[in-house]
């Protein structure tokens, strides 16, 4: 009895590790989140597992790519789809179509927050027979003037920060609210990953060497849940880029006759206090 039990337990452990190691994350990256002055931006969009420089996935193109900026009381939307260029992103053991975007300085000239929104196409996850779509926000700032970083921007689903996502110290608590169709989502599962392999924009790769020595899969992808009002809190243990993905919170649940998981992703950056 005991002997039989061991293989089952071992199999369960392996399964648990595999599933947690398979946290899909839309990486939406540019080297700096805060700029003293407006400048040309070099951005990358790749669908992968950033904590492990893992398996690359084809995001199915990009449906929407734009930036929102406050001008007085108004919000100005600038479409950026024409800045996109298809590239191949290579991780140590996998590669897939991804995107580069060169956003000109004239778009990010003024002081204030820039809320970049990227809505990809649909990724088909064969093993689970489901489609995935991760709607991703990246909030940058120019000139240290805060404007709309804490405002919902009307996405089908989104993570709205309650602390500046570009202005975190290591050890701060990142707090945010998960919304679906503008309403808080209680009890939503939110995966958290650290960008342990910093993207190299010259080679469009993630290096094989990790900046973190993970003792087990549970720490590669951490899981937290929203409270009754849709809030999450997460203490940031290390400087660098942290991604948060609220799973299946979007209103769309079906694509091409199959189940669809519509996720909301946001990236934040922490600095060490020296």
């Amino acid at each position: 009895m005991k002997k039989r039990f061991v293989p089952i337990l071992a199999a369960l452990c392996v399964m648990a590790f595999s599933s947690s190691a398979f946290a899909h994350f839309m990486v939406f990256y540019t080297p700096e989140m805060i700029m003293e002055k407006g400048q040309d931006l070099d951005m990358r969009i790749a669908f992968t597992h950033p904590a492990e420089a893992g398996h690359m996935m084809d995001m199915g193109g990009i449906e929407e790519f734009y930036v929102l900026k406050a001008k007085g009381e108004k919000i100005v939307k600038t479409d950026l789809k024409n800045t996109l260029k298809e590239i191949t992103w290579k991780n140590p053991h996998s590669s897939a179509p991804a995107f580069a975007a060169e956003v000109p300085k004239k778009v990010i000239r003024s002081m204030g927050d820039y809320v970049f929104v990227m809505k990809p196409g649909y990724y088909f996850e064969k093993e689970e027979d489901v489609y995935m779509q991760q709607i991703t926000k990246l909030i940058l700032n120019v000139g240290e003037m805060p404007t709309i970083w804490n405002e919902p921007v009307g996405l089908p689903c989104e993570i709205v920060p309650l602390i500046k996502p570009y202005g975190l110290w290591t050890g701060n608590v990142f707090k945010a609210q998960v919304l679906s169709d503008g309403k808080p989502v209680a009890g939503a599962e939110v995966e958290v990953e650290y960008m342990s392999h910093m993207p190299n924009l010259k080679t469009n790769t993630m290096p094989a060497k990790s900046s973190v020595d993970y003792p087990n899969g549970a720490l590669v992808t951490q899981t937290i849940f929203t409270d009754a009002n849709g809030y999450i809190s997460f203490g940031i243990p290390k400087s660098g880029w942290w991604g948060f993905a609220a799973l299946g919170v979007g209103p769309d649940t079906e694509y091409k006759g199959k189940e669809l998981g519509q996720d909301a992703v946001i990236w934040v950056k922490a600095e060490d206090m020296k």
Binding site: G72, G143, M145
Partner: protein, 105 residues
């Protein structure tokens, strides 16, 4: 009672001063490339700079233009010939000066 009023007034003043010092004035200017310059103002706490005074002086410290930030916290003006300086004036201790030579496209 009088003493109390003085204490309260002082406390109110202190509180107000504290708030006034919690934000810094910010200004950023660009050469629009068509002989005009746009300056945008703001504060580090995100508050609007609509109505804040903006002075432009020439190289001899002579006023060229005195105006106020519009509802979008910005001003566009004809680029002065020669050297000039733009001053965002939100009151004492809350000014920003940008040298015309540093204003580029």
């Amino acid at each position: 009672m009088k003493k109390m009023m003085i204490v309260l007034t002082l406390a109110a003043l202190l509180a107000f001063t504290g708030q006034a010092f919690a934000h810094s004035p910010l200004m950023s200017c660009f050469d629009n490339g068509d002989n005009t310059v746009t300056c945008e103002g703001g504060f580090s706490d995100g508050s609007s700079a609509a109505g804040v005074k903006l002075h432009i002086k020439d190289g001899k410290d002579k006023p060229v233009l005195e105006t106020r930030m519009n509802e979008d916290s910005e001003v566009t003006f004809d680029k002065p010939a020669g050297s000039y300086v733009v001053i965002f004036d939100a009151g004492e201790g809350h000014t920003v000066e940008v040298n015309g030579a540093d204003i580029v496209e």
